[in-house]
Symmetry: none
């Protein structure tokens, strides 16, 4: 393969626990974020178990494809930690004991009051020609090793804190020296509610073809995001590429675009009310506290959000929120009239300037032909307006999904009313 | 390559967001757990971006190595969702529009009150000869396709809930039909609250050395789990291996073991109260509805959980829960006395048999030397007892962690009181 065509970097995570699903691969994510931050594109991640034959196969394949392979895991003292010896064997290199590593391991164990076990000696063995990557936290050193031309291996322990410390102290400067880092990536996440991913993607279709910055859509539960990512020599230039695209995307998204980066519907609602000096309460039936919990998740919510009533049973709707018994009887608990009465009742009993109410059928039981699972009524009541609205989410996505969308739609309509 | 030497299964996750580190690869972990549960070993996971050339390269490599490649991601309607068309191109197969898929997409969008966008039509295109893997939740169908001899592809959307539903409904029976499962793995998840992972692991240390069944600890936010996994020819034999180990582990865990498998603290509390024919209310300050939302997440909660008050501001604690002004003034809102008054007030104003109250400082602001961030008071009040308790979680883990632990501890102490 032409070396110019070699991709720059790949990530290889080694550990049977990953293949058993015992842990999530947080190291791959962390390294991916770091590589993006440094402006080093990587195009592939691989996971293999602590198995000599399969690890050799993967490493030899990678050595033909990429210039640098970042390996994590398998550097510990136990018999199933076989990364270093397997990499050495893959390229036919002998292992040698590094006295400085042995001394470092001994010193660390002594400081913890632990004896030097024979298995710890194994950690001082590195292939001939490898450079030690010091581990400031643990006993497992890593290495930087170029076993063949135009291919280097970096090894890190699987323990996230150790890997991260070694990465920052040693690997980043090395990658920069190698000329692998070129420029910098910056990104901006625009957040939308009330629009489907497919519909938003169509509206912004020409932007999805851009090369720098790129624009990519992501869908979550109700929320849709557009990530704008720019590459440039420095942060200012990258931000300069992002700004005009962000402006255009916001114009297209209109009021569906509720914020960016770490904003949430709750944080945006709270900020708007804070600016107006007004307070907010909730009256929740099917969401059972979910709207309140979303508001309370925002640091500093307490100057705007004062509380409310979880009115799961009709008796609470009547007793605390003052929903009239005949409204409940004639319209049913899941109705526009009850939602409005709940929101107005929440303002009355809490003294809040604004209130939002939710009442619906989250399922799986409780639905009927007239009022099926997924039917939810909402109301927003403020100093000079009250309105209600309805959503039919359908039953197919299940209880958690219906409750999650209900929380979002309640906050979103309140946001739009502000 | 000799087909007998082919490894059974590999996992391929497709998505540029994984290579940018925007999200952690939870799908890989979930699939790995499932494969282990089914007794299907897999030896490699790969991640590539939404890139036609690189995806083709990876898939063609995998087709030479494994019998089944499980792919996730890239089935959405947007231009960067290119998995299906790329897989078809990799094996030179034409795409054809499946009218039944098109009808299903249209029906789902109509049910949600959304128009059919041209981009949605793309999701109905599948390679000639592929079998549709129905998506019960979303619009993106997957497929089972054998483009060459002794190699099958399964595709799933990247949205976890959709992938999981499709996996359970269609992929698992298919894998079993293929004879890929050898014997059966069964597992039992024991759930603990109120004990640290390291402490529990020490108490059950000899069990962690077992080979069949194996016992593995997992830590979450406050909750600790022990997974017992047994392999046998059939379910009865596997369950027979699990049962005695479960019994011993439950004995060691004592009252810290609150349930198994899909139990949650909320479901266990609701079941206990349902059996007693008693009802429950909440009074929440710092959790702001989180306890209510956890209870409401359990299907059928409404026969026990009737609602409550989110008393974020002191005025609500007074007005709705009847917490005396002088109690608030003399003890402060975050105090044992206020927690007790909140719980008793919640029972009074809702008429519930039981109530649980939470008041604390979730941070990052609002702490003092005397009442630091992470200090939370709780109370439980029932027909014939009331008690309060306190937790000091510390500030270091942050607001979300403190609120999550508070929800768990509130429910846990109520559980123990029942």
């Amino acid at each position: 393969m032409n070396n110019n065509k070699k991709s720059q970097i790949e990530v290889l995570c080694i550990g049977t626990e990953l293949l058993l699903g015992n842990i999530v691969n947080g190291n791959a994510r962390w390294l991916a974020e770091e590589l993006a931050r440094l402006g080093i594109p990587h195009f592939r991640q691989t996971v293999v178990g602590d198995n000599r034959e399969r690890l050799m196969e993967v490493v030899l394949e990678a050595s033909k494809r990429c210039r640098v392979l970042i390996c994590t895991g398998g550097l510990g003292p136990t018999p199933d930690d076989l990364t270093t010896e397997t990499l050495a064997a893959a390229f036919g290199a002998p292992l040698e004991e590094r006295s400085e590593v042995l001394a470092d391991i001994k010193a660390k164990l002594t400081a913890r009051g632990r004896p030097m076990a024979p298995s710890n000696c194994k950690q001082a063995l590195l292939p001939l020609g490898a450079t030690v990557l010091c581990n400031p936290l643990g006993t497992a050193p890593g290495m930087i090793w170029s076993p063949v031309a135009n291919f280097s291996l970096l090894t890190f322990p699987g323990v996230p804190a150790e890997m991260q410390a070694m990465w920052e102290q040693t690997a980043v400067p090395w990658l920069q020296q190698q000329g692998l880092t070129s420029g910098i990536f910056r990104s901006r996440l625009l957040r939308f509610w009330g629009v489907a991913e497919s519909s938003l993607a169509e509206q912004v279709a020409p932007f999805l073809e851009l090369q720098n910055p790129t624009v990519a859509p992501y869908a979550g539960r109700g929320e849709v995001k557009l990530r704008i990512t720019a590459w440039a020599d420095n942060a200012e230039s990258a931000d300069g590429l992002i700004a005009p695209v962000e402006k255009e995307l916001r114009a297209i998204g209109g009021s569906n675009c509720f914020g960016a980066d770490s904003d949430s519907l709750a944080s945006v609602v709270l900020a708007a009310l804070r600016q107006r000096g007004e307070t907010l309460a909730v009256a929740e039936s099917c969401t059972a506290g979910g709207v309140g919990a979303a508001l309370g998740a925002v640091p500093g919510a307490s100057d705007v959000f004062i509380g409310g009533v979880i009115a799961y049973a009709n008796q609470i709707k009547q007793a605390l929120l003052g929903v009239p018994a005949d409204t409940l009887a004639s319209h049913g608990a899941v109705s526009e009239a009850v939602a409005l009465a709940m929101a107005e009742g929440a303002r009355r009993c809490t003294g809040a300037d604004w209130a939002v109410a939710v009442t619906g059928i989250a399922g799986p039981g409780g639905g009927s032909a007239e009022k099926p699972v997924g039917l939810v009524y909402f109301a927003v009541s403020g100093p000079s307006l009250s309105f209600s609205f309805m959503r039919q989410y359908g039953a197919s996505r299940g209880r958690e999904w219906i409750r999650g969308l209900s929380v979002g739609d309640a906050l979103d309509q309140l946001r739009l009313a502000l």
